[in-house]
């Protein structure tokens, strides 16, 4: 298992902090990459942050209604052992798919 933390990313527009409105995950939850992780409120708007990893959430570092600054740790994941970041291997349903039949050579 590989542990990864996720810190509050630069939200742009000069914003340096945000308030946690609502966690969309809890410790122990399995979360997929790009699935909703947390809803934050900045001085400009409420934004939903997607999960950067696929794995199991092991710890939330900030409680709801708390302020976090850019760079503060938000959450710790246990990454799924064999997950890659790019691409997926499709299940090979076509493994035994065929239309062509062979005729053995005459011996």
């Amino acid at each position: 298992m590989t542990e990864r933390t996720f810190t509050l990313p630069d939200l742009g527009e000069g914003l340096v902090e945000a308030r946690v409105l609502e966690w969309r995950v809890a410790p122990g939850d399995r979360v997929g990459r790009n699935e909703p992780l947390v809803e934050l409120e900045t001085a400009k708007s409420a934004v939903e942050i997607p999960s950067p990893h696929a794995g199991v959430v092991t710890r939330l570092h900030v409680e709801e209604d708390q302020l976090v600054r850019v760079g503060d740790t938000l959450v710790t994941f246990d990454l799924e052992r064999d997950s890659g970041i790019v691409g997926t291997v499709p299940e090979e349903a076509e493994r035994t798919e065929r239309r062509v039949r062979l005729r053995p050579p005459e011996e």
Partner: protein
């Protein structure tokens, strides 16, 4: 050379279990990771570097744990500049190191081609043998993972064409482990193509003869017969080996016995091994993902024809990708060789 049991290396992954005979079952990803652990442990001159290979552990987790174990002097992240990655490898090799750089994806190798072709491949020749280039370039390659552009290409023919380079592509966890170590331990530059669609396939990884005290080192350039048959020979490498094994299963339902050869080393090519197989089967079909024209299948067909012309009952057939840029993910199944396309080629050789 320090001999380290395979099972000791993968203990950190927590998932491997020992098989009878000392083999350990693991995924290809883990098998490469374990070989990298061995390479870094047995020789302090080895270095691993590339995009995201350090702290992150690689986008496929292939270099997972190396940064933590060996520190950032020996395992480190580089800027996103493939030319600089290979340029640095060349400079380090000139100064006595044995670099194992990673280029993150096949399609990202193109910016590094200048350094690979003009420096890495010919430094030994240029210096009349005074300077060796013990560099193994790891290149996650081939398609099949529904990824975006530049993430599914097959560059073996490009690199095989360059004098001075050795090119290798494993198809199983066992070979991935041992061919990587074989590459790292040679003093010549090797392009090591990893079939990323097979990273998660599991299989036994055994000890090799060349790791035992007094054992002989397997020659570079040896192919492997992975299935014996008598009616035709399928020749493939990387991810297409499993495709060919599936086709051999299907052909067996029709009473046709196909031999399957995993070429493994794409330069040098095991011409003797191919000729010996065709002498038995009299027919050959070469299968690869790369486009047809000037692909490595043409070289294989030429070698078989030169060596075994009188044995052949039919012209060598090629089943390949098409002469188009590698397509977007959803179109992969229409681009990559299918069971039926390989079976049709086999039938053409049977009824020629």
């Amino acid at each position: 050379m320090t001999v380290t049991p395979v099972n000791a290396e993968c203990a950190s992954t927590g998932s491997a279990h020992e098989e009878p005979g000392g083999a350990v079952e693991m995924s290809m990803r883990e098998a490469i990771n374990s070989a990298l652990h061995t390479a870094l442990r047995e020789d302090p001159r080895t270095l691993v570097f590339g995009e995201d290979v350090g702290r992150l552990g690689g986008v496929f987790r292939v270099t997972d744990g190396l940064w933590h174990t060996f520190g950032e002097d020996r395992v480190f992240d580089t800027p996103i500049s493939e030319s600089a990655i290979i340029g640095a490898a060349v400079g380090l090799a000139m100064n006595g190191f044995r670099p194992i750089p990673e280029l993150q994806f096949d399609g990202f190798a193109y910016p590094a081609v200048d350094q690979i072709v003009n420096q890495l491949a010919r430094m030994h020749y240029r210096t009349r043998g005074a300077v060796t280039m013990p560099v193994t370039v790891r290149l996650p390659s081939f398609g099949g993972i529904r990824a975006p552009e530049h993430h599914g290409e097959s560059l073996e023919a490009l690199f095989a064409h360059v004098p001075g380079l050795t090119v290798v592509a494993p198809s199983t966890p066992h070979d991935a482990h041992h061919l990587l170590l074989r590459s790292v331990r040679t003093d010549d530059p090797v392009i090591y193509l990893e079939p990323k669609a097979r990273y998660w396939d599991r299989g036994p990884v055994g000890r090799r003869n060349d790791e035992a005290p007094g054992g002989t080192v397997e020659p570079i350039g040896a192919s492997r017969v992975v299935r014996a048959g008598r009616h035709a020979t399928l020749i493939a490498w990387g991810a297409m080996v499993r495709r060919c094994l599936q086709v051999a299963d299907l052909a067996a339902e029709d009473g046709v016995e196909l031999e399957v050869i995993d070429l493994r080393w794409l330069k040098p090519i095991d011409a003797d091994g191919l000729a010996a197989s065709v002498a038995r089967t009299r027919r050959a079909v070469v299968v690869h993902e790369a486009p047809l024209t000037a692909g490595l299948g043409a070289e294989v067909a030429a070698l078989v024809t030169e060596r075994a012309f009188r044995d052949l009952a039919a012209p060598v057939q090629r089943v390949t990708g098409y002469d188009v840029p590698y397509p977007a993910g959803p179109l992969e199944p229409r681009y990559l060789p299918t069971n039926d396309r390989v079976l049709l080629a086999v039938q053409r050789t049977l009824e020629y």
